[in-house]
């Protein structure tokens, strides 16, 4: 009789423990961060890079991918860097190779020919198309506008 009661008590405890274990929430998942996250785009028919979307840190398991310390670069066919854009935080959609953010963006072309700053952007890497939405301020270097003229 006493043994049966003991077994019953143990059984009840086990059942209670199992129920509690099933109801408990899973522990919070730690974000998986990849450093130096890169998305390349190449010129058609060659291995020459055309554009690069790079994040200093990226939680690549999420979709869209949150990135920090974002850099966007484009290159000419000869390998020279043409465009450099920098943003603190962005989201990246790897499937259609786009990136966007509501934060500030700094954009410039090589040799300082053209500089721009603004808020909010959308980048389409396949078309190398950049849209900046607000508070755009740009400076075009005067050398681009000066042409040789005959002396009067």
């Amino acid at each position: 009789m006493t043994a049966r009661l003991g077994f019953a008590r143990i059984g009840v405890c086990l059942v209670a423990l199992a129920a509690g274990w099933l109801r408990a929430e899973p522990p919070a998942a730690r974000p998986v961060v990849q450093k130096d996250f890169r998305v390349f785009d190449y010129y058609r028919g060659s291995q020459k890079p055309k554009a690069l979307l790079r994040g200093g840190e990226a939680e690549y398991l999420l979709n869209p991918i949150p990135m920090r310390r974002v850099t966007i670069e484009t290159y000419t066919e000869t390998g020279l860097t043409n465009l450099i854009a920098k943003c603190d935080t962005s989201f990246c959609n790897r499937s259609n190779r786009t990136a966007y953010s509501a934060g500030p963006l700094e954009f410039r072309l090589s040799e300082g020919r053209f500089r721009l700053s603004g808020w909010g952007y959308f980048w389409s890497q396949t078309n190398t198309h950049l849209i900046v939405s607000n508070q755009v301020r740009s400076v075009l270097k005067g050398e681009l506008l000066s042409h040789p003229m005959d002396r009067p």
Partner: protein, 245 residues
């Protein structure tokens, strides 16, 4: 010493022979021998003929100088590059950049300051587009669209041109303003152009071809011509006021 004596003797013999005409005290044969030893006098040679240079005038009879490049002469002026300051472009509606073509597009309340540090030209419009050239290239054209207003500040005074479209050609530094009609406001009055008005930034001059209409401001001469043929009115002297005792 010996050489000096020899010279003296020779000089004496020569002088004696000249004075006497027949060799002096010497025998005629000796004098003749002396004469034979003297070199014959050279005949005066005529000056060598100088061929005249083609195209050179010999009226003065002088010898034409050969063509020599004057080092002090100025070289033909080479083409110059007009220095330009940086241009600032701002917009409230956003910015588009196409990497394949270099085309940029500004939207909504676009403002251009040229140059940015001391604006001589201020442009406002709703749209502005241009093509940013690749490294080593130059901008060809900048196009402003919709409600275009160009304000030009120069020593003559502020001039404002407004229209529907403006095209800036960086090659010859000329702005063409299109409108229906394009309006040009100057200190002397307002000009309504015929289709388009051209502004040359180098000479700071406007050109308005076609049928134009000019509305002049009162009392302001137009193109340096103004006033009437009436005699100027004499200015009345100020009234005299007696000093109070």
């Amino acid at each position: 010493m010996i050489r000096a004596l020899l010279r003296l003797c020779c000089t004496g013999i020569l002088g004696w022979s000249l004075l006497s005409g027949s060799g002096g005290g010497f025998s005629p044969g000796f004098a003749a021998g002396l004469d034979s030893l003297r070199p014959p006098p050279k005949a005066a040679l005529p000056p060598p003929p100088i061929a005249p240079l083609p195209g050179a005038s010999s009226a003065a009879g002088g010898r034409p100088s050969p063509p020599v490049a004057d080092p002090a002469a100025p070289l033909p002026p080479p083409s110059m590059v007009v220095p330009r300051g940086d241009v600032e472009i701002t917009s409230e509606g956003g910015f588009d950049y196409e990497g394949d073509t270099g085309r940029v597009l500004y939207r909504k309340k676009v403002k251009v300051l040229d140059p940015v540090d001391d604006p001589r030209t201020i442009i406002t419009a709703e749209w502005l587009t241009t093509i940013v050239p690749p490294p080593g290239g130059k901008v060809g054209e900048i196009i402003a669209l919709t409600n275009v207003v160009i304000k030009i500040l120069d020593p003559k005074g502020a001039q404002t041109a407004s229209g529907n479209k403006a095209v800036y050609n960086a090659t010859n530094d000329v702005v063409t303003i299109y409108g229906d009609p394009p309006i040009l406001e100057m200190p002397s009055g307002t000009l309504y152009g015929d289709g388009f008005v051209v502004f040359n930034r180098i000479t700071s001059q406007f050109q308005a071809p076609g049928r134009i209409r000019m509305v002049a401001r009162q009392g302001v001469p137009i193109l340096g011509i103004g006033g009437t043929n009436a005699q100027p009115r004499p200015v009345a002297p100020p009234p005299k006021t007696d000093p109070k005792p």
